[in-house]
């Protein structure tokens, strides 16, 4: 796809706070109708990039256009086409559920009739009918998140930004949010999300940019990332260090690469079954021996390091 097709184009984005480079020379393009994910540990600069896109953080340098409009020169026009779900909920706690939607609609200059119609549609779509006139404080975490997404959609945006959409939600609520996201993608909305959950990125994203310390380290589809950064399968071994070393020495030239961690040994391989059988046949005592498909988590941890960053 050519450059003109992109709905968001970022060139050499940089954000400096005094001595700290929160975002360092980041470039990317997002195609309309896709789901693009920013994956990275806390403090990687994901949220700052999002904030630049929805015009609440100025760039130190670089060029960023959304729907063809420059984010610095045309803030209001850019924001008119975007719906935003912030990481910490920014619902209006002084208003009830329906008024959160109606008051928000006014910020976009929607007429009263249009606002009421749209609010009713969204309340139904997000299954909040019972809570219509309730105070926002009485909602559960999952409901609050749904209301926030509903509110972000009040103006029928072409882009929806979700900053860690399922952080702090229980498993049921997370799956509900994902289901709604899938429906929105089907409706043609471009989704842009940040997450540090691998399953979330795998579930939703067509394309993922892995960020670390302000830079994009790599960018590809989830499956391509797994194929290119790690091998398709992992054999995982727990047990005494001596045994692990013995196994590694024996299979060293048959695997793509390995990771020797403090508690286990990871062997990356294009095909797990023969390797698994071979290790079993060695009769070296180990606590566990298991084979699995590689996940984004392996990619992520390999790229951003396994030690805690903060």
């Amino acid at each position: 796809m050519g450059k003109s097709a992109a709905i968001i184009t970022a060139k050499n984005l940089t954000k400096e706070y005094r001595s700290l480079k929160a975002v360092n020379d980041v470039s990317f393009e997002i195609q309309p109708g896709s789901c693009f994910g920013f994956l990275g540990p806390n403090g990687a600069g994901k949220t700052t990039v999002m904030r630049m896109i929805y015009c609440v953080t100025p760039l130190t340098s670089g060029l960023l256009t959304v729907n063809g409009e420059n984010v610095i020169e045309n803030m209001s026009a850019v924001k008119r086409g975007i719906g935003v779900v912030t990481q910490d909920d920014s619902l209006d706690y002084d208003l009830n559920v329906i008024n959160n939607l109606l008051v928000y609609a006014r910020y976009y200059d929607l007429t009263r009739e249009k606002a009421v119609q749209r609010a009713n549609e969204l309340i139904e779509f997000f299954q909040l009918e019972d809570k219509r006139n309730e105070n926002v404080r009485t909602l559960s975490g999952g409901m609050k998140r749904r209301l926030q997404i509903a509110r972000a959609l009040i103006n029928n945006p072409s882009i929806l930004i979700l900053d860690e959409p399922s952080t702090g939600l229980d498993p049921q609520a997370r799956h509900q949010v994902w289901a709604k996201c899938h429906e929105l993608i089907e409706q043609g909305v471009t989704l842009l999300l940040t997450t540090h959950y691998m399953d979330e990125a795998e579930q939703l994203c067509d394309k993922i940019a892995v960020m670390d310390r302000g830079s994009i380290i790599t960018e590809a589809s989830p499956w391509d990332l797994i194929k290119s950064e790690v091998s398709p399968y992992v054999v995982e071994i727990r047990g005494e260090e001596k045994s692990r070393k013995q196994i590694l020495a024996a299979v060293f030239d048959q695997i793509d690469f390995h990771e020797a961690l403090s508690d286990r040994l990871l062997l990356y391989t294009p095909d797990a079954t023969p390797l698994h059988t071979q290790i079993q046949d060695m009769n070296i005592p180990v606590k566990t021996l298991l084979s699995r498909r590689s996940s984004l988590e392996d990619v992520f941890l390999k790229l951003t390091g396994r030690e805690l960053l903060d």
Binding site: V56, P58, S76, R80, V84, L91, Y93, D94
Partner: protein, 259 residues
């Protein structure tokens, strides 16, 4: 990258004003009652109580002397409460501004909307106070019509002063300093309770540089129908200060919320 902040847009600011009005509408009946009791208490306690010992002040019954100034101070309290504590909570605790700023509303629109709302709250305080003064039989003449625009202007001026302080602080506790060391002295030394010309020259000069003094003088002139050129001087002072303050405070809020 230095780019000029977008100019404030009145329509966008009114959206923020509307949001506050929607919230206020829910509880206004509860909210407004104290605004009627306060003037009653002041007029009874100070006007009649203290007034029993002070026969006259500058040729007026004491209650008539203090009423025009108290009216203006009630606008001051109303407008500043709104643009200090309430704005601070919306900005820093409830994250309401995070939600608003991700819509087409920009920081300067938001700030101007809050100023308009602060002025509105000041006007509600002032309006309630004025209605009680009417009940007491004060200011029942055609000249009193000038007080209505004045109430809004003074409300707006104090809204800018409150918001300017709010834009500078990071801790809510610091408002204690604003109220105790700035507004309370204004309340006591702006000619509400005694004429300024009794005080030393230096105090009078300092008073000229403070906002409440000019409002009190104007209000007293209107109530007592003493139409002098000085009234225009007071009005001009307030308009100039409000204009400068507005420019400064919009920039400060933009800087605070767009970073």
């Amino acid at each position: 990258m230095r780019v000029k902040a977008p100019k404030v847009r009145i329509l966008a600011a009114l959206r923020v004003w509307q949001r506050n009005a929607t919230v206020y509408k829910r509880t206004w009946k509860l909210n407004i009652l104290p605004n009627f009791f306060e003037p009653f208490l002041y007029l009874l306690g100070m006007g009649l109580g203290l007034g029993a010992y002070i026969a006259e002040m500058e040729g007026l019954p004491y209650i008539n002397f203090i009423a025009p100034g108290l009216l203006i101070s009630s606008i001051m309290w109303g407008a500043t409460l709104e643009t200090t504590y309430n704005v601070f909570v919306k900005m820093n605790f409830d994250r309401i501004y995070d939600g608003i700023l991700s819509t087409p509303i920009n920081p300067k629109d938001l700030a101007f909307g809050e100023l308009l709302w602060g002025a509105t709250r000041g006007t509600i305080y002032g309006g309630a106070f004025l209605s009680i003064l009417f009940v007491f039989g004060m200011g029942l003449h055609w000249g009193i019509l000038f007080i209505f625009p004045l109430i809004f202007i003074i409300g707006f001026m104090f809204a800018t002063i409150g918001l300017l302080f709010t834009s500078m602080i990071k801790e809510i506790e610091l408002f204690n300093y604003f109220f105790t060391l700035f507004l309370t002295p204004l309340f006591l030394f702006s000619g509400i309770f005694f004429p300024m010309n009794q005080l030393p020259q230096t105090v009078q000069i300092i008073a000229w540089f403070t906002p409440l003094y000019h409002g009190v003088e104007l209000s007293r002139g209107i109530f007592n129908q003493v139409w002098s050129v000085e009234l225009f001087e007071h009005l001009a002072w307030m308009l100039v200060v409000t204009l400068i303050n507005t420019t400064v405070v919009l920039r400060a809020i933009h800087k605070r919320l767009y970073s």
